[in-house]
Point group: C2
Chain length 492, copies 2
């Protein structure tokens, strides 16, 4: 354990970067913009995957796997999608290395092993998947096609940050095909709901569900649903998106089906995804100046038990009690780790588990054995209490729920107190610079105004909230009429 973290107040961005590394979540690699996800960080991602995968299957989806590479001719087939990703993709041009005659022991690209057609490392898989769907769909009987893929994708981002924006990241991408526009729209909404439920229930992060404006939509989508969360520095983070793709990909890849009347029609599509970026959102929402704070639902270890002992005899007596506690906790599906390493002192262990955000710490020493007690310490509130061994397991079980709820409510309070309605551009700019957070304002619906506001303030329209009501008003920037408020914020 090296010296303390930079505080959030001092430098929020530095605090985040240090925390990710010191809590052993991830680190930069030798490949520009690509990260190494360390075991502790990966364990959080695995827990996210397990819950999401269950939710996808419960809503009728099946997993499959499609190639990493997209031939250039397929990549460019859907023009808007291609345009959106062309400027940031890794391209395979050769398939062999050879010994470098000028540098003994070194290799160079074999100029004779040039591909006839370049391969794009997938930045997203619509093209390769829709080219495949063509063979899978003939009749309405083959629909809906409800497919999900867990995969790595590559987008050649110029400015990267661990978890939040990396050249390679892990994600899931759902790709579905439907008979009607209505069904496809319902699917896109359903999956945005699944994301909202997951992020609120498991990540303890409140989200706003909404629609993206045209300029913020996924390249090739006709409508993009999204969930937007608010970080502690008052910046928004897009946590998931679900796209209604219309018939764009069906037309680009000629995917038709015979409907019930026997007529040929193009199918309707959706795609939706969340990524390892969610780990970044989780870190930024709940953590504090002491380190990571994890909601029990996603903590690799929900409870850590630390023995305080002076000799082998005491450790043995403590271990006996701890074994019973662990058995009981596990029978309640509470994950627990007994940190009995003899290479570290209790203080160092306390510090490590605090930094790594274990929701609940139990310390147990010789005195506790005599009294039939243990010391409980909550990571979220940093409070401690001495409790009786009797009823400990029920107490811990209750605390898991309490901590989970408390984290959500704290984040919700923060979000609600950083959601400001403004009616003038002066107020808009002032709130953005001082209070930060979401700004609910009238907008005239034009990309020109959206651009101007972004240029002047760096705030973008995060979404047109689904729950927003119609309300006559005038655009905060142009003064033109507007029918509803939209959410602005600076964003990750």
């Amino acid at each position: 354990m090296s010296k303390k973290l930079t505080s959030r107040a001092e430098d929020y961005s530095k605090w985040y970067n240090e925390l990710v590394v010191k809590a052993d979540l991830a680190e930069n690699s030798a490949v520009r913009g690509c990260m190494v996800i360390k075991p502790y960080g990966y364990a959080i991602w695995e827990k996210m995957q397990a819950e999401l995968d269950r939710m996808f299957k419960e809503t009728g989806h099946q997993n499959a796997y499609f190639p990493l590479f997209v031939p250039k001719s397929l990549f460019e087939a859907e023009e808007k999608n291609a345009e959106g990703f062309a400027k940031e993709c890794a391209i395979v041009t050769h398939y062999r290395l050879q010994n470098d005659p000028d540098n003994p022991g070194k290799l160079r690209v074999d100029p004779n092993a040039k591909l006839e057609e370049e391969l794009i490392v997938r930045p997203t898989s619509e093209a390769i998947i829709w080219n495949t769907f063509k063979g899978w769909v003939q009749s309405y009987r083959d629909l809906p096609l409800l497919i999900n893929q867990w995969a790595n994708v590559v987008r050649w981002e110029m400015r990267t940050r661990l978890f939040l924006r990396t050249a390679e990241f892990l994600w899931q991408e759902g790709h579905t095909a439907h008979e009607t526009k209505k069904e496809a729209l319902a699917e896109a909404e359903l999956m945005n709901n699944v994301y909202a439920t997951f992020v609120e229930k498991f990540m303890a992060i409140p989200v706003v569900q909404g629609l993206k404006t045209e300029s913020e939509r996924f390249a090739g989508a006709e409508e993009t649903y999204c969930i937007e969360a608010l970080m502690q520095d008052g910046k928004a983070l897009q946590a998931g998106t679900s796209h209604f793709l219309g018939q764009n990909f069906a037309k680009a890849f000629d995917v038709k089906f015979a409907n019930k009347e026997g007529k040929q029609d193009y199918v309707w599509a959706t795609s939706w995804g969340v990524s390892t970026r969610l780990v970044g959102a989780l870190i930024m929402t709940h953590s504090d100046d002491n380190g990571l704070v994890l909601p029990p639902s996603l903590a690799p270890n929900q409870v850590v038990i630390i023995p305080i002992y002076k000799n082998e005899e005491q450790l043995e007596a403590i271990t006996e009690v701890v074994n019973n506690i662990m058995k009981d906790l596990r029978s309640k599906n509470i994950s627990v780790k007994f940190d009995n390493r003899d290479t570290f002192r209790p203080g160092a262990k306390f510090a490590q588990h605090e930094l790594q955000g274990v929701p609940l710490r139990i310390a147990i020493g010789a005195r506790d054995l005599e009294n039939g007690t243990v010391e409980l310490a909550r990571r979220d509130t940093l409070t401690k209490e001495v409790v009786s061994l009797d009823g400990l397991v029920d107490k811990v079980e209750g605390l898991m729920t309490e901590i989970q709820d408390s984290l959500f409510n704290k984040a919700l309070d923060f979000r609600n107190s950083h959601n400001t309605e403004v009616d003038t551009f002066e107020d808009f700019k002032k709130v953005l610079e001082t209070k930060t957070g979401f700004i609910s304002a009238h907008w005239d619906g034009t990309p020109e105004t959206e651009d101007k506001i972004k240029e002047i303030t760096k705030a973008t329209i995060r979404c047109i909230p689904l729950e927003g009501k119609e309300e006559e008003g005038i655009c905060v920037y142009s003064g033109n009429p507007s029918k509803r408020r939209v959410l602005f914020a600076k964003a990750y």
Copy 2:
């Protein structure tokens, strides 16, 4: 369902290719040598992953994730490893596309977006991982490092076959670092054992554990443990490998640690992997001329129930009974699917589930309801029996074990009857051409003899079996002295 499969006797290779496609397991993609793993095939892989992942964690390993790309300078650092993979790797040279001025609407590689250093798409991750381990290991306290990664890798194979050999494949790769040679060797053996247990217990495929000869070893390894299985056509298939890497990677990437005496030493390494190739082994071992045969342990659906009805009323009465059966089966952790699609007739459903290898089919009609019976059909033996609803769940539970054991024993009988000791080269060639299978023969231990035998017969040394005993003999090819028999076979 199109026409029947080619039979194994007619053309084993064609039978395999047709089966993979018709049973909806996988198909070729638009990318040369890369496959699409379809939902049914992926569901089998997911079941394999779940069991293996559990076994890795039970033996103390943690998952992590490392970059897809390996900078060329790291790739070439361990010379033997680099040499082994240089001729078959995909190379990223550019990071941007641009509009092609000569072809409106088309894209081309942007010549101004050339990477300073080329990136190799990982064919295996030793290089990038050992470059990372360098930062993780300082003292003996940091060891052992027991890491596993689930990932996609790319090897530019010229001749590919679905699951068995594809340019991109999915796998897991374990990478561990240890204080001593002894510990690293023990780890390599342990993981080979884990593979053997998994393949025998869950895949119902008997394996021989052994060591590879020098020429068959993994590039960069000092010793390669492996498990070898025998397919129905008498060819061997390497199902998993576990490598003792000595200090080769530690030296190439300068990974040293302070030992308990405070002295600096290089760490000792292992790596081990199994891949989607296992799905190919599973298919080829158990399936028959009617299609796929799956062991219950890995079947996405262990039981399928098909209603036979003439009207809505009958279907309702059947559904009521089926719902109870399903509830009871699921309470015993038996996965069951009720195929009540009204778009297919029972005969078509029977054919589909037979082709897809569902271990047990239950058919239930109006007559059965009267008699309190159902019809059970086993996929492995193709036998049917009418049984009482009373005790059905116990019966099914017993059959799951019986089918699993029966598949293993059948494969074991085949393997044992295709394992021939030969003492002359004439017999060697004769057995290889007629009886096929493993040939146990004396070999003089030289790569020259190994090469010659391969050149003449296409048989390779699959392994030096761990269970083989010392035995004086003379090499079947050279006549020189030999101390033990090794296993030869033609192989996938």
